[in-house]
């Protein structure tokens, strides 16, 4: 009888570990291109990594522009792709606040206050995220839509390209999923 209880316990334990969302993992979609939302996303990503969680951040749509490296140039783009490239922020330092942008004055002010109050910038947090092994996946379709190429994205350890199934596979086993 005692043996059966032990067996049953082991089976239950295996079941619990295999259930969806059981992993101490955070999967986050960064859809927005707004500076404030990028700040929030990076605080949560680095915070979760500090809490010992595995972290995957999936950048899609407007979010992808923040990963562009302003120093990198790539050729071979169509006219529409070049236009997109010009209109969208060239990297995280050109992202705007969702509110109170005020033709750049509000965004500049927030950045100045953050620096004064010693709040880490998106770039600094990306560095920390890299050290923690936070995985960044860029949505392939968004890049294709906007004419972005992997060669014009920032140098980040573990940067890769993926689609919705990649995100859903990560999200499915994560205890926390967020859409920003």
């Amino acid at each position: 009888m005692a043996l059966d209880v032990e067996k049953e316990l082991a089976a239950l334990k295996a079941q619990a570990e295999a259930r969806p969302g059981a992993k101490r993992k955070l999967s986050m979609v960064v859809f927005s291109g707004d500076l404030d939302k990028h700040i929030a996303a990076m605080i949560i990503a680095t915070g979760a990594a500090a809490m010992g969680m595995e972290v995957v951040v999936f950048y899609t749509f407007w979010g992808t522009a923040a990963l562009r490296d302003p120093k990198k140039r790539v050729g071979g783009k169509t006219l529409v792709e070049r236009m997109f490239g010009m209109m969208l922020p060239k990297g995280r330092d050109h992202a705007k606040l969702s509110h109170m942008h005020m033709a750049g004055a509000g965004t500049a002010m927030i950045k100045a206050i953050m620096e004064k109050k010693n709040v880490a910038s998106v770039g600094e947090m990306l560095d920390i995220a890299g050290q923690f092994g936070v995985k960044i996946i860029i949505c392939e379709m968004s890049m294709d839509l906007m004419g972005f190429k992997l060669e014009e994205m920032i140098d980040y350890p573990g940067l890769s390209i993926g689609g919705v199934a990649t995100f859903l596979a990560d999200a499915g086993e994560s205890a926390i999923q967020l859409f920003i």
């Binding site: 680095t46 915070g47 990594a49 500090a50 709040v119 947090m125 920390i128």
Partner: protein, 79 residues
């Protein structure tokens, strides 16, 4: 107010969320099991963040001391 044998004092004064817990988590691998570190911070969020971080990561907050303009948190490496 007990006194601990402090292995290291960590100056996190001026750091804002999420940096205090980012730094303490980066510090953990450098410590030995049972080490107690004294964390000095000026971030009031640390008062709730450190216990939450410790609970999640299996570490222990021994004590939190508050004085005007300074928070001192004693963290023991238990894992």
């Amino acid at each position: 107010m007990p006194d601990y044998k402090i292995a290291k004092t960590l100056d996190y004064k001026g750091l804002k969320c999420p940096m205090p817990i980012v730094r303490i988590s980066q510090e953990m691998p450098k410590l030995s099991l049972g080490d107690v570190v004294e964390v000095q911070t000026t971030d009031p969020g640390s008062l709730s963040d450190f216990p939450a971080w410790a609970k999640t990561t299996g570490q222990q907050v021994l004590e939190t001391r508050q004085e005007p303009g300074l928070i001192t948190i004693f963290v023991k490496k238990t894992k």
